[in-house]
Amino acid sequence: MTLRRLLARAALLTYPRDFRSEYEEEMLADLDAGSANPLAQCFDLFKGSVRMHFDTLARDVAYALRRLRAAPLFVAIVVLTFALGIGANVAVFSVLDAVVLRPLPFADPSSLTVLSSRGPRGDVFPAVSPLDAQDIAAHERGFAGVAATVSQQPTLLLDGKPYALNGLQVSSNYLSLLGVRPRLGRAFTAADGSAGARSAIISDQVWRERFGADPGVVGRSITLDGSAYRVVGVLAPRQLLPDGNFAGIRSEDVLTALAAHLPAVERGERMGGGIARLASGVTLEHANADLKLVSADLAHEYADTDKGWSFFAQSLSALALGRAASSLWVVFAGVVAILLIACANVGNMLAARWSSRDRELAVRRALGASSRRIAGQLLIETAVLATLGACFGIALAYAALSGLAGLVEHALPRAGTIGIDGMSLLYALIVVIVATFLAGLSPLLSLRATDLQTVLKSAGRGGDGSRRHRLRAALVVLEVALAIALVTISGLVLRSFLAVIDTPLGVNTSGVVASAPVSLPSLGLPFQTAGNTSLQNDVLRRLHALAGIESAALALTYPVGDVELQGPAVVFGRTYSKGAEPLALSNAVTPQYFTVFGVHPILGRSFNDTDTANAAPVAIVSRRFEQLYLRGMNPLTARIRIQTGPTQWHWAQIVGVVPDERVGVGADADAASLLPEYYAPLGQLSTPFFSAVVRAPHLDPAVAGREVDSAFAAAMPLTPAPQTFTIAQRVAEDTRAQRLTTILLGSLAAIALLLALSGIFGVVSFSVTQRSREFGVRMALGASTSGILADVVLRAITTTAIGVAIGVVAAAFAARAIVAQLGAVSPFDPTTFACVVALVFVSAAIASLQPALRATRVAPVEALRYE
């Protein structure tokens, strides 16, 4: 009997309190009389309580909907506000979740690291030579496995047609180390790494587009760069892979097995990637401590190439996602601010609505509805509005993500996985709950603050307590402060973005069209040897012959090109300690390169057609090179060392000095872009690749690009024509991530400002309505229109000013937190702050103008009638 009682009482506790106080006794009496199983009874009671709560909720929702139907304009504004706030949240969360929060698509991704090198000058980059990767694998005990990669751009020859692919040469343990299984066939095995094995695994996309999704492709032979490879597997759809290098993670078209023995690779060529998996129980710190010892051994053993170098491991996810993560968290902070603004706005609208209906609420309370019940119904009303807002918001988010897809695609890692999914909807649900309480809380508090009696007595007067007014003003202050912070941050990010894309490159790039590098090994040719320049000459001759092209040149690279070459700057007659030679950018160009970019030598001459492989080696240096490395010398008598092939070099006579060019833009490129540079004639070097640059000032860039393509196609029919672009397009491509952040923050700032202004408008408007009698009296007593106007607007400005003061401080703190992302722009940039403050004040004045004008039109007689 006691157990029955206990269980029954526990179950009864879940019923609404008023119901319980009314029926508990009767129910217990019935239960005592019955003889059912106590557990079944308890379950039955519990079921009844759930049903009852659900019925109450359904009735409350129906009631809320009925009441809201009577105020369509109010509903429209609130739902729109919520839709903007929740939609922005869902959109940004979906991006954050897909790009940053979700684990990388590999087994135990947190233990995956990327081997990186630190050079004698302290420069750090995520690359190692495959030979070093092999030695680290053999000696480092903190790793469960190490895989080596070398990126490659092979040409697939299929039915006589060439297709350019992106791919990786990988050691045979690469896929198993990652825990990635192909959808068809198998991963590489040790046998694939033996000499002459030539095995390949293709991507799902290549499998579909080039092989018609034929399952029989496994085992088939394909031609890559002129050699036959056997396809042993097909990767899963949209499989992302780490390149162990600069790209982080991306999808690859083809993987080929890297030979276990690497005779042709130079240890000093740190162009490969190394992926290492930490052994279980080993931390990154431990592994790195051990790696330091391995580095010291290698530096000792291979003093020629490894002296002064050390290796360390970085977390793969931090490397692949870190940059995107830091930008996206800033944007996420922005949407949280937007949500707060939206909730403050809705809170004020609800407070105004509920106060004008105070009498209905008071009457209901007088008729016996408990405060809890009323508060519950009002919260349900808020929840209904938030849910409606969320529905529209999710639609907005979907539209925004579709609209941004093109922009996002190359700006963020694994952008292909972004979409509205279950996690987005779960997040939307959480946001709805949070928004309901945030928006509903303050009006509920202010509701408590009103005395029931006063409300009933003041029928017809609609008095507004000063306490409530203060609460409403506080919310507007909060909105303004948040909006200021957000607009300022977005302004700073915009300025830094503009500074980056407007970075002077030091050369005239207008009318210049450039091509991506064309790789010679992909032709099946050996390295182009110096002097055997027939292919280059052929391409160049065809470029010159094109209509509308003023000048044309071939070059290894060009400003903001794909390739950045660095080498030691060694001046003849000077001594350097080994491995500590100063660094310079290097380039090799044909004579018209400087003409294409409108560059004239400051000193000496440019290259000309006599600087061939058979002539005396020559070089041209940049002005910064001269200033830094040739101090106290006549540059035109100095000689510098030029690498002419994988293992050869010669001394080249400097024949000219040219102004500095900038080879890259953006935070990444800053340090390297300011390096001194030297140029050699392309014909005096053996090079594995080259690009074309042409000046075609009167041609549409697309047309010029097609012409360049046609020249390549005619000279090199078995090579896919390289991509062509203007330098401005290259700048845009290199700054996509920043552009995205700028656009996202800009949109958020616009929404924040809009919401804050509508908040100001709402509060001023409401207070004008409340004070209309006061205005009427003042007008009747002879107050001037302008006086009333000034009164209303000044009040709005005062409220705004408090928000501005708080917002500016908040903005300064926020800006300091993201200083790393602002580049050259100061986080306290006075122009930005001044502009934002001015913008907000002017907007606040405009937002309060309409209600202020309404205040001046109050007819004294009307207002006084009720007095």
Binding site: F19, E26, D30, L31, Q41, L45, G48, S49
Partner: protein, 114 residues
């Protein structure tokens, strides 16, 4: 206003049986549950978790009235059918009767009944 009542049909079967049990005589909650069990030959049971929420709803809607404490057991209250409740129960019975007649005319049920 028969139309008014008809808009409330069909009734939840449990509600119908509760109304039927009260049409016979006024009862307290436990007696209602017992009566429903008897009326339906034990096929429908209303447990306290179902019964009292329904009673409260029926009271709120004015289909039944509360009569105060039971003479024998002060913990229980007695309920009786209101005029509105009776009209609703009758309307439901008519609706069911019409259904049964249709079923007969389609020979789904025997044509005559004792």
């Amino acid at each position: 206003m028969p139309n008014d009542v008809e808009s409330l049909l069909p009734l939840n079967p449990r509600v119908f049986y509760i109304l039927l049990s009260l049409a016979e005589e006024e009862r307290h909650g436990y007696a209602i549950a017992k009566a429903v069990e008897t009326i339906t030959g034990g096929t429908v049971r209303v447990t306290p978790g179902t019964l009292y929420p329904l009673i409260r709803q029926l009271l709120t809607d004015g289909w039944i009235h509360e009569l105060g404490e039971d003479a024998h057991d002060p913990r229980r209250r007695r309920y009786r059918l209101s005029a509105l409740g009776k009209r609703i129960a009758q309307a439901e019975a008519r609706r069911l009767d019409a259904l049964v007649r249709v079923a007969r005319s389609f020979a789904l049920l025997p044509a005559t009944h004792a």
